[in-house]
Amino acid sequence: MKFLQKVPRHLFFTGKGGVGKTSIACASAVELADAGKKVLLVSTDPASNVGQVFGVAIGNRITEIPSVARLSALEIDPQGAAQAYRDRIVGPVRGVLPEDVVKGIEEQLSGACTTEIAAFDEFTQLLTDSALTAGFEHIVFDTAPTGHTIRLLQLPGAWSGFLEAGKGDASCLGPLAGLEKQRSQYKAAVLALADPERTRLVLVARAQSATLREAARTHQELADIGLSRQYLVINGLLPVDEGDADELAAAICAREQRALQNMSEALLSLPQDRIALKPFNLVGLASLRHLLNDAPVAAASQSVPAVPVPNASSLSRLVDDIAADGHGLVMLMGKGGVGKTTLAAAVAVALAHRGFPVHLTTSDPAAHLAQTLDGTLEHLSVSRIDPHEVTERYREHVLATKGAALDAEGRAMLEEDLRSPCTEEIAVFQSFSRIIREAGKKFVVMDTAPTGHTLLLLDATGAYHRDIVRQMGETGLHFTTPMMQLQDPKQTKVLIVTLAETTPVLEAANLQADLRRAGIEPWAWVINNSLAACAPTSPLLRERARNELREIEAVATCHAQRYALVPLLKTEPVGVQRLLDLAGHSSEKV
């Protein structure tokens, strides 16, 4: 692997969720440790599962991995970091100031930006705190999904710039009151990140056109903020000879090769590694050690028996049940990369096809919706919440209205505050709640951003809910809040999207648990891109299909009230007809 040659101290893996960052980061850390280096593996992903990969509980402190000499790991838990921060601020005044005042402070510090900033604060320490990381020759970071990663990495630059300006109490970096004290540390973190002698960034992607487009965008964004020496890893590539005897495998191979050929110039210019699809799930040490070498694995012999196609409902049948209510909000949730956007489009098209008015919208920062729904249909309207765009619009709106009467200095300060990390959360949330209201009259189908972002979005909704309840509670008027609408299964159906693989199913179960804590009960699960539903003949695909059965069983019996199985298609589901096929095309043939 090129990305593991002459590795600098810090190694970052970034890419859309589901491309295999965690596995590759773990495998790289193991390989470096096996080569005699002392390695620290860090997960900053809100849905961290490094502990699960090694079968050890890790948590928010450096923990030695017993099964791998010289390897330690650390999970940064954003929620835990935020709680610790809250305790630090609120602790000293608890019992000193009145209780409702203390509660008010805590609520202010319970928002999305506190969580993000607190997590970032820990991340910074690892890049700069020599005492904490002194013994380690390499620190391998398995980072959060792309959009989140970019912000995380962009923050130190923005903050240093802000602190340089020294505007004192104009600070909208609010939640981190102690920030000023660590000015030098933040600056050092920026320098460490942008220095190719110390930091290597590895983009991880799959050989899918949408994923590669996103990788190209990430490459550009990170290059723009100084991380220009990047490597590219194409993960999970189907070996070309698998296509010899299997139509589906041949179609996948052809699609992958086409996607690789059409990669952007910028990506092609990066040092590139390719990792073949393995016939096993990447859990446990033995599997990990096989990931980065392409030594043939014994399991993939020619005599793999056919895998029975699971008897599961189609997406179309779920849509029948959704359609029965005549209107409502349908939200597809799940880790990035599981196909929420495509399935949201499929659900929307299937509803519109049945004659219902449908508004399809996406808040995924990496939306490919326009590309996916490459066609028009009566009753269907399509929109997109582009976080960047709505943030800009929100900024302009605030400046034009609230800032209209201000003088030049006042305007400059308002602009400064509008550059804060939380402005985006608010702007996205506002667009989101506006669209939710439409669901009283028609169907609104939303895909959402990756897990962490989705939860932050819901958290913002929750804060708003408490706000409205407090204000309206006094007037005695009848009211509903966006949160109440989300919690009512008559009005809102949450579809959890996952893949029939160990980690995605566990992540989806975690997401479901989080939603339940917010009082939201997922209505159904959708298992996407299932090979088992395709009855493949290629030995490698059959091995993968067989591995899926256990996961499908787990979804059916442990996790989902109802679920649908969506097969992996030979062609990418682009356009109305193929999306209709995707919804109807199911294991009904069993």
């Binding site: 609120v90 409702d100 008010g104 109490d169 800032g403 201000l406 003088d407 804060s420």
Partner: protein
């Protein structure tokens, strides 16, 4: 020069732009403070959610919080004496307290607000 201290309600930034609704009086006041400082006024702001100890350590502010709760905020002290509670000072107030030369000021703060912006 008199020392003006303002004790803000809990919010994550002084213009309140992080709230679900931007509070005009906060935006205006933040600009007024910036303007007055440029004219040489000594003004300090304390945010309840960032510097709660400043509230706990000031007897006047702490007493107000105990008697009337958060609705007492914002509180303005001029040279340590209570001058205003429950709303933000206008630019004219700042001019008077700081002893600045009066100028043509833009529209003063609209309806006084004490709940502050919601934090994000």
């Amino acid at each position: 020069m008199k020392n003006i201290q303002i004790f803000d309600p809990a919010m994550c930034c002084n213009t309140g732009v992080c709230g679900v609704e931007v509070d005009q009086s906060l935006v205006t006041f933040a600009a007024d403070v910036e303007w007055a400082k440029q004219q040489g006024a000594q003004i300090e702001r304390f945010n309840l959610s960032q510097q709660p100890m400043a509230f706990a350590e000031n007897a006047i502010v702490k007493g107000l919080l105990e008697r009337t709760g958060q609705t007492a905020l914002p509180v303005t002290l001029v040279d340590g004496q209570l001058s205003l509670a429950g709303r933000y000072p206008t630019r004219d107030d700042l001019v008077r307290w700081a002893g600045l030369a009066a100028t043509t000021s833009p529209a003063p703060a609209a309806t006084p607000c004490c709940s502050g912006g919601r934090c994000c």
